[in-house]
């Protein structure tokens, strides 16, 4: 662990969380990623990522790692949206999230939106490894441009493994640096916010979710494995959150 490094090539920083049934033996923020233990929600240890407002800038390499050990329950949120901003020399920024959830453990990963500001270039990778009995509630939202602004370039990859087998693998790429057609009728159709809500749990093994439309521009689908995914696009962040919150509420009350 080299600690926070500030240099011409941008910030290098990794924040780490380890949750056990008893507590949070590791809670280490670094650089732009500060972590706060916040008021617990029921049986969940709760951690809030704060101070991420100005990161990542072009050239930065930042990462968050969370490990939820067997039997533990962890709820992670963030105090504000993350805004990808351009760096001085147009370099790409990298943001890696690595999440591990053990047997009979649960992770609720519910951060605020990722906003791709004009001129920014961010590659975000999320890798999630779930034990066979693990539960996950995971939300991600991409907003293209601040209010009335052109989008930056944003590429994300979400890879989820359960019991060592691939459960979900998705790449999204938007903005001026993406391949053509990203704003056309197959991909975003002019929408400026896109998001996903992934729920994984053993209860879906015998009772997969029924596919259903959530309005015109969102859908709830069962994955091939024991999980459901809500896929949504919307004109803006507020309308997107509305759709995902409805799905989250109906899931959390039925489980």
């Amino acid at each position: 662990m080299g600690g926070l490094t500030l240099g011409a090539r941008g910030v290098r920083a990794t924040a780490r969380i380890v949750a056990t049934p008893e507590g949070l033996p590791v809670l280490e923020g670094e650089g732009p990623l500060a972590l706060r233990r916040t008021r617990a929600r029921g049986p969940y240890h709760r951690v809030t990522v704060v101070g991420a407002m100005s990161a990542p800038l072009g050239g930065d390499r930042i990462a968050v790692e969370a490990e939820v050990r067997d039997g533990a329950r962890l709820h992670v949120d963030s105090a504000a949206a993350t805004i990808a901003l351009p760096g001085r020399d147009g370099e790409r920024a990298h943001y890696d999230v690595r999440l591990t959830v053990g047997a009979d453990a649960e992770l609720r990963w519910l951060p605020e939106q990722l906003i791709s500001a004009a001129g920014s270039d961010l590659a975000m990778r999320t890798r999630i490894d779930l034990a066979p009995g693990a539960r996950l509630v995971y939300r991600e939202e991409q907003v293209l441009g601040r209010h009335g602004e052109q989008p930056g370039t944003l590429a994300t990859r979400l890879t989820v493994y359960r019991a060592g087998r691939p459960l979900l693998d998705q790449e999204l790429a938007y903005g001026p640096g993406a391949s053509g057609g990203w704003d056309g009728a197959a991909v975003l159709g002019g929408h400026r916010a896109a998001g996903q809500l992934l729920v994984v749990g053993p209860e879906f093994t015998d009772r997969p979710a029924e596919p259903r439309m959530l309005g015109d521009n969102a859908v709830l689908t069962p994955l091939a494995g024991p999980a459901l995914l809500v896929t949504a696009v919307a004109p803006d962040a507020r309308l997107l959150r509305h759709v995902l919150d409805d799905a989250l509420r109906s899931h959390l009350t039925t489980r």
Binding site: R157, T159, V160, R165, P166, L167, L168, D169, Q170, E171, L172, A173, A178, S179, G180, G181, W182, D183, G184, A185, A186, V187, L188, G189, A194, P211, R212, M213, D216, N217, A218, V219, T221, P222, L223, A224, G225, L229, T231, A232, V233
Partner: protein, 224 residues
Amino acid sequence: MSRAALLVLADGRFPAGGHAHSGGAEAAVKAGRIRTAADLAEFCRGRLHTAGLTAAALAAAAAAGLDPLLLDEAADARTPSPALRATARKLGRQMMRAARATWPSAELDALAAARPRGAHQPVVLGLAARAASLGPEDAAHCVAYEAVSGPATAVVRLLGLDPFDATGVLARLAPELDAVARRAAVAAAEAVVEGAAVLPAASAPLLDVMAEAHAAWPVRLFAS
């Protein structure tokens, strides 16, 4: 490789059932998102660089000799829509019948036995290409072209679009089709060393959303 075998496999008249599918174009037309040849071009371009690239890489990897069952699992993880998984397996089953009759091979037989209800179509197409002594990039070309030719043909019927305009859309996409096929083949070569996880997983939210809406329509012109 035989260039003629590539033409046989890529021919729209190859009896593998693809003509009944619009690749999401029917739903996009109904939603008012495709009205003109320019809209069709953007739709096709977006599909090519997302679902098209992902499928082309799966086909290239199968043609390169990766385990088709691992690729089938990778295809499931890359297809969150159950309607699109069902379509891919149905088309895979039809492709399997046509391919086994055309280029009999032990590898096709083994996959048919392991996935009697159909494997994902690009995986079957990749194995068919392999049985026809075609290479990974050939398989990727077939799949990339299918990703755009299906919607273009469908929109001629759905909108009464001038067939010359639709063909013009496809012709202007040719350099991007070549680039996607090349990228898919390079990814497949990496996957031979590092495993299927390194294959592209490019996806398109509206295709996934609209596929479920379309599957629920009581009456439709195309199966997907």
